[in-house]
């Protein structure tokens, strides 16, 4: 049983950032703007968050670890919004090709993090180090719940709960609010939305900014549990989040399932040499590593006909075209 708990705990470290970032991509695309800049925004968000943590820690300020993490999350979110505004401006106002401005951000992000990292770091290195003040050995009370406590409330980070909270909030926002309805309309048929008096530009800005918030947070959430320094990369998890978004067919609950499927296989691939049963089978880890992508291909092959991609995603809105 402890193996199962361990696997669930480890899966969280992969799944939660994927979930958060893919939900961010969902808001952008449901509003009609393709956002392949998720990777770059993650890097920006993680960089800002970690720099902030490092600044506090190396200044010797005594602060509650969880509070510090929350502040870092806010920093990452704010940075994400700022970066996403550049993308929004280019793709909404300037009607630029959305793939190009997204690519530009992806290319800028690591270079920016390396350059600024070296300049502001007192040690002159691009790696920004931080100490782990955030790990929860066991959450009081909740950690004592049988099964669930072992899975979710021991060896965890508050980012896990934040991920689930974001999922619920995203679902409610998209399906249960006026805003969500309007956003979806702008992604599917912006002309119709416009004729109903909705400002397509505003809605799209909102969608992209939401994706900036979530991708920024996702970047930080990705780095915190798995390393002790940030080195200007999120190892392609932004692109993986795009795959999760498509695998999840732009729907929150399916994205949840997809994120956990990808995360579980990532965890199994990396951990197979330490897991009973799998250890004895001794399949090369490449096998598990391939699985998510093969499954994505298979699922897409069967569902692409009735794919739920927002119809107007990727097309700049032009009032003059009816």
């Amino acid at each position: 049983m402890s193996t199962v708990y361990f696997l669930v705990q480890q899966t969280m470290f992969f799944s939660i950032p994927l979930l958060i970032v893919a939900l961010g991509g969902m808001f952008s695309e449901r509003g009609g703007v393709v956002n392949i800049a998720l990777e770059g925004i993650m890097v920006f968000g993680a960089f800002a968050g970690i720099v902030m943590i490092d600044a506090v820690q190396s200044a010797g300020i005594a602060i509650n670890g969880q509070l510090l993490l929350l502040l870092a999350i806010l920093t990452a979110a704010a940075t994400g919004v700022l970066v996403s505004l550049a993308h929004a401006y280019a793709s909404i106002h300037m009607k630029a090709d959305q793939v190009i401005s997204g690519t530009a951000i992806n290319m800028l992000a690591p270079a920016f993090a390396i350059f600024v990292g070296r300049v502001i770091n007192t040690r002159g290195t691009q790696q920004v180090r931080f100490e782990d003040w955030f790990h929860l050995e066991k959450v009081p009370v909740l950690g004592s719940i049988p099964v669930l406590g072992d899975m979710l409330f021991t060896n965890a980070y508050i980012t896990t709960y934040l991920g689930f909270f974001i999922l619920i909030a995203a679902w409610a926002l998209l399906y249960k609010t006026k805003f969500g309805l309007r956003l979806r309309a702008c992604g599917d048929h912006p002309q119709a939305a416009d004729s109903a008096g909705i400002s397509v530009y505003k809605m799209r800005y909102a969608g992209v900014m939401l994706s900036g918030v979530l991708a920024g947070i996702g970047g930080l959430v990705f780095v915190i549990p798995t390393s002790r320094e940030f080195n200007a990369t999120v190892s392609g998890y932004g692109f993986l989040a795009l795959a999760v978004l498509i695998f999840g067919q732009w729907k929150p609950l399916r994205i949840l399932a997809a994120a956990f499927f990808f995360g579980l296989l990532k965890a199994v691939a990396a951990g197979s040499s330490g897991l009973p049963l799998l250890k004895d089978i001794a399949l090369p880890s490449y096998f598990y590593k391939m699985m998510p992508f093969i499954m994505t291909l298979i699922v897409l092959a069967f569902t692409s006909r009735k794919s739920q991609a927002p119809r107007a995603a990727g097309i700049p809105y032009d009032k003059g075209v009816r």
Partner: protein
């Protein structure tokens, strides 16, 4: 339209602010510039990492700086603009123009640049750490040439690994892990030595066949990834007590896992005890010692030019940092005994080559240790 402009200005201002903020605080991180004048006698060119990489660059720089401070020599380090031979050569050129008499280059990536530079600047001395100069033509067998103005320094990594493995087993660890970076000769030698050290200690303690287990893996890179963290966590969760993290930033992920699991790590290259409380010891190459020694020889007028020197236990080129190590039962006296044995050559430790053939993990004689190689 007005709104558009405002936004554009905002975005531009944001980036400008970031850049300016960067410049403002960047003044003092310039390389240490020694005492006076414009010429810098001693120069170091950094490898891919930075000067405080807690590894090669830092270790070498400490040796150079120690000598320079003691004997009041001007010194400076240079960071190549990119990770390729041209950029390395440009940096060397810069150092020579900056008045360098001796240039230290840490890392085997400098083998080819030094092969070329030693002929281009015959009046400058080069100290190449962890390699011997060659033309890099591995398809046809490279042309090795160490010029009269160059010394190539290599290390007996297997001895450092041996000491780490020995100490861990004497200290009571039985379930070990080896997390190597790229399977390059240096990393392999560390790993092979680690296995043999564990075996040797097991024999001394009279353990039975299969009493010591080592999981053995190369990550294929020198970077920290969540996958390495998960793999290490899984090992710890499955009973592994200590992992030898042997590959630069790979150690970061292993330490992250060890901190969560409450387990132990063995560091590599330099004393990594300050990086994490989980580091019980480090398999060190005494980079500072070798740089210091070579510089001393140079100023004494007997620079070992044209030679390739291997630093071993015999000349204190490898070792464990006993003062910062966190062992329970393995004592300084135990260390001194085994270290003396290595110095005498009383133990035959296999490296990555033996009798001209490549050695693989399965070739190494062992009975007490069971190695589980993980692809």
């Amino acid at each position: 339209m007005k709104k558009t402009n405002l936004l554009a200005i905002l975005v531009a201002a944001l980036f400008a602010a970031c850049l300016l903020a960067g410049c403002a605080s960047g003044g003092d991180d310039n390389p240490d510039s020694g005492s006076s004048g414009d010429a810098f006698e001693l120069a170091l060119i950094t490898d891919i990492g930075t000067i405080d990489d807690k590894s090669f660059n830092q270790g070498s720089w400490e040796g150079l700086k120690k000598y320079a401070d003691e004997f009041n020599k001007t010194h400076k380090y240079y960071q190549p603009a990119a990770k390729d031979n041209t950029a390395y050569l440009d940096a060397i050129d810069l150092a020579v123009k900056g008045g360098a008499k001796v240039i230290v280059t840490p890392g085997f990536l400098f083998e080819v640049p030094i092969y070329l530079a030693q002929d281009m600047y015959p009046d400058v001395k080069f100290i190449l750490l962890d390699g011997s100069p060659n033309d890099g033509d591995w398809d046809n067998g490279p042309d090795f040439k160490t010029g009269a103005n160059t010394v190539g320094v290599t290390y007996a990594e297997q001895e450092a690994g041996f000491l780490a493995g020995y100490a861990a087993v004497i200290d009571g660890y039985r379930n070990l892990g080896f997390m190597g970076g790229m399977a390059v000769p240096a990393v392999k030698k560390f790993g092979y030595g680690f296995i043999q050290g564990a075996e040797y200690a097991g024999a001394e303690l009279g353990l039975g066949a299969g009493d010591i287990a080592i999981r053995y893996h190369y990550t294929g890179d020198f970077i920290a990834t969540p996958e390495i963290e998960t793999m290490s966590s899984a090992w710890y969760n499955d009973g592994v007590e200590v992992i030898f993290a042997c590959g630069g930033a790979v150690g970061n992920s292993v330490m992250a896992a060890a901190e969560k699991a409450g387990m132990k790590v063995i560091g590599v290259d330099i004393d990594q005890s300050s990086e994490s409380a989980t580091v019980i010891t480090s398999a060190m190459k005494e980079l500072a010692v070798s740089v210091y020694d070579c510089l001393k020889d140079y100023y004494a007028g007997n620079f070992p030019g044209g030679k390739n020197i291997t630093f071993t236990a015999a000349n204190y080129g490898v070792g464990l940092p006993m003062s910062t190590s966190k062992f329970e039962t393995f004592k300084q006296s135990d260390y001194d005994i085994v270290f003396a044995k290595l110095q005498d050559g009383a133990v035959d430790i296999w490296g990555d080559m033996r009798n001209g053939a490549d050695v693989s993990v399965s070739d190494i004689p062992k009975s007490i240790v069971i190695v589980n190689e993980i692809a």
